[in-house]
C-alpha cells in the first residue's frame, strides 16, 4: 500500500472521529495539536483505524503512540503483512 494512500485514509478517519473536516495530519502531530484528542477519544480513534485498515493493535501499542508518525508506521507495518 502506498504511503499516500495510508495517510489519506488515516486523515479520513481523523476527520470523522474528531468531527472536524479540516484536519490535515502530519508525522509530528501529537494529541495536543487536535482539539478533542484525549485518552477517551483516543480509544475511538484506534478502533476506527482498526476497522478502516482491518488490523488489530495490542493495548501496549495503542497507548504507546506519541505522534501520528508512529501511528502511521505501525499501520504500514501491519498492513504490509
Amino acid at each position: 500500500m502506498a504511503e499516500n494512500d495510508v495517510v489519506e485514509r488515516m486523515n479520513k478517519v481523523f476527520r470523522e472521529v474528531f468531527d472536524n473536516p479540516e484536519i490535515e495530519i502530519f508525522d509530528e502531530m501529537t494529541a495536543s495539536d487536535v482539539v478533542g484528542w484525549d485518552s477517551f477519544s483516543h480509544i475511538n480513534l484506534i478502533t476506527s483505524l482498526e476497522i478502516e485498515f482491518e488490523i488489530e493493535f495490542t493495548q501496549q501499542e495503542a497507548f504507546g503512540f506519541k505522534t501520528v508518525g508512529e501511528l502511521k508506521s505501525a499501520i504500514e507495518a501491519k498492513v504490509s503483512y
Binding site: F40, I43, I46, Q59
Partner: protein, 474 residues
C-alpha cells in the same frame, strides 16, 4: 502516628526536618527511608515486617519485568500478570478477608476457619502505588528501579504512605535525583501544612464530634432536621478531614523537597457527578481511570452498546469497594456510578443540560449528600433508614433531642466557616489578592495570618483528645 498528634508535631516532624537538612545530600534518601519506616513502625512491628517484605517482593518483580522487557514469548506477560495479581491478592487478603468469610458463612452456613491477619494501615494506598508501578513498567512508561533504596522511598515516603495522595513512580522517582530541599520550599511547606492542620483540627474534628453523636443514635431516633444536620456536618467533616490531611501531606513533601500531586479542587462546586470526581480524591479517580477504565474501554472497544456506561459503573463499583469491606461502601460507589453512567449516556447522545446551573448544582450536591449518608453509616440498613427519615419516608421516634441540642453557637460558627472555606476566594477576588501580593505588606501579613492560624490549631491539638483521620482505615 497522626500528623495532627502532639508526638508528630513536636518530636517526629522537627527531628525529621533537622535531620534532612543536616545530613549529607547523598545520604538523605536513606535517612528519609529510615524515618518513613519508623513512622510506619508506629502501627506495629508485624505490619512493618510485612510492609518491608511486600516492598522487597515488588522490587524483585519490577526487576523481573524489566529483565523480560524484550521477551517475545509469553514470559513478559506472565511476569506482569504475576506482579499485578499478587498485589491484588495481597490487598484482598489484608483488607477483605473477614468480609469474604462472612459472605461465605452467611450464604452457605459453613464455618470457615478464622485467619487473623494484622491490620495494615494505608494498605489500599501503598498497594495501589505498587500496582501502578508494575503496570507502568509493562507498558514501558517507566524503567524498573534498579536501586532498592529508590523503590523503597517511593513506596514508603511517610507524608503519603498512609493516606495518599497516591503517587506514580514516574513522577516521584524523578525527584530523587533532583531533590529540591531549600528554604523556599520549607516555608511553602510550612504554610501548606498549617492550612491542612487548621482544616483538620478547627473544622473537621469539631464537626466530627457532633456527627459522631448523631450517627451513634439509632437511625430512626434522629428527627428530620437533626438527620439533615448530621448529613451536612459529615459532608463538611470528611472534606476538611481528608483535604486537610492532603494539605499536610503535600506540605510535608515540600518541606522535604518533594512535590506530591494535588488531590482536591473545590469538589463542592461540582455541577455534575463526573465533575465531582474530577475534583474529589483526584489521585484515586485518575488511578482508576488509567489502570481500570481505559484498559477496560480498550479491551471492550468492539462493543458499541453501553460500553462506556457499563465500564463507568464497574469503575465506581470498584471505587466503592476500595473504600472498605462493607455493602454500604459498595452501594455508595454504585450510587455515584449510576449518575456518572447516566451522564456518559447523555454525553454520547450529545444531550446538553438545559437546567440552570444553580439547579444542576443543587441536584449534584443532593446526590453527593445522600452518598455521604450511606458512606458514614455503620451499615447499609442503617443508611437506608437514616435517608428514609431525612426524606420524610420514615417517621422518626420522638427522643426530645431537637436540632438546637446539637447545633450550638460553636457548631453553627464552624459550619459557616466550613461553607466559606469551600469557595475559591483567590480566584474570585483576583484584584485584591494581586494588589496584596504586589505590595510590601504581603509577606508580613501572610506571616501573621499563618501564625495566628498555627497558634490556634496547636491550641486545639493541645486541648483535644486524640483523633484519627477518616481515610486511615481505608
Amino acid at each position: 502516628m497522626v500528623f495532627s498528634s502532639q508526638i508528630f508535631l513536636f518530636i517526629f516532624l522537627p527531628l525529621c526536618i533537622i535531620g534532612a537538612y543536616l545530613i549529607r545530600p547523598d545520604f538523605r534518601k536513606y535517612f528519609l527511608i529510615l524515618a518513613s519506616l519508623a513512622f510506619f513502625a508506629w502501627t506495629g512491628k508485624r505490619p512493618l515486617a510485612i510492609f518491608v517484605v511486600f516492598a522487597i517482593v515488588n522490587y524483585g518483580m519490577g526487576l523481573l519485568q524489566g529483565w523480560l522487557r524484550d521477551d517475545r514469548g509469553p514470559g513478559k506477560k506472565i511476569a506482569n500478570w504475576l506482579a499485578i495479581l499478587s498485589n491484588v491478592v495481597f490487598l484482598l487478603a489484608f483488607k477483605y478477608l473477614p468480609f469474604f468469610t462472612e459472605i461465605v458463612t452467611g450464604s452457605t452456613g459453613t464455618e470457615l476457619p478464622k485467619i487473623e491477619l494484622p491490620v495494615l494501615l494505608g494498605v489500599s494506598f501503598f498497594v495501589f502505588s505498587a500496582i501502578s508501578y508494575q503496570y507502568d513498567i509493562y507498558y514501558n512508561k517507566i524503567a524498573p528501579q534498579k536501586n532498592i533504596a529508590d523503590f523503597l522511598l517511593y513506596l514508603s515516603f511517610f507524608p503519603k504512605l498512609l493516606q495518599g495522595p497516591i503517587t506514580r513512580a514516574g513522577e516521584f522517582s524523578g525527584q530523587l535525583t533532583n531533590n529540591k530541599l531549600n528554604l523556599d520550599n520549607l516555608s511553602r511547606g510550612v504554610y501548606r501544612f498549617t492550612v491542612g492542620l487548621a482544616k483538620k483540627v478547627i473544622i473537621a474534628d469539631q464537626l466530627g464530634a457532633m456527627v459522631d453523636q448523631i450517627f451513634a443514635n439509632p437511625a430512626t431516633a434522629n428527627g428530620v432536621s437533626v438527620a439533615w444536620l448530621g448529613a451536612f456536618g459529615y459532608a463538611m467533616q470528611i472534606f476538611f478531614d481528608f483535604s486537610g490531611y492532603t494539605d499536610m501531606a503535600i506540605g510535608l513533601g515540600q518541606m522535604l523537597g518533594f512535590d506530591l500531586p494535588e488531590n482536591f479542587n473545590f469538589p463542592y462546586l461540582a455541577l455534575n457527578i463526573s465533575d465531582f470526581w474530577r475534583r474529589w480524591h483526584i489521585t484515586l479517580s485518575s488511578w482508576f481511570r488509567d489502570y481500570v477504565f481505559y484498559p477496560l474501554e480498550f479491551k471492550r472497544r468492539k462493543q458499541k452498546v453501553f460500553r462506556t456506561e457499563t465500564n463507568t459503573l464497574i469503575v465506581f463499583f470498584l471505587t466503592g469497594f476500595w473504600h472498605g469491606a462493607g455493602w454500604h461502601f459498595i452501594v455508595w460507589g454504585l450510587w455515584h456510578g449510576l449518575f456518572a453512567s447516566f451522564e456518559v449516556f447523555l454525553r454520547a447522545r450529545k444531550v446538553k443540560a438545559k437546567a440552570p446551573a444553580i439547579v444542576r448544582y443543587l441536584v449534584t450536591m443532593l446526590i453527593v449528600l445522600v452518598g455521604w449518608v450511606l458512606f458514614r453509616s455503620p451499615g447499609l440498613q442503617y443508611g437506608v433508614q437514616y435517608l428514609g427519615v431525612m426524606f420524610g419516608l420514615i417517621k422518626p421516634l420522638d427522643t426530645g433531642l431537637t436540632l438546637t441540642w446539637y447545633l450550638n453557637g460553636k457548631i453553627a460558627y464552624i459550619l459557616v466557616l466550613s461553607i466559606l472555606a469551600c469557595i475559591p476566594w483567590k480566584q474570585l477576588l483576583t484584584k485584591p489578592f494581586d494588589k496584596l501580593s504586589g505590595s510590601k505588606l504581603h509577606d508580613p501579613v501572610l506571616l501573621v495570618a499563618y501564625l495566628i492560624l498555627l497558634g490556634f490549631s496547636i491550641m486545639m491539638v493541645m486541648s483535644s483528645s486524640y483523633s484519627s483521620f477518616i481515610y486511615f482505615k481505608f
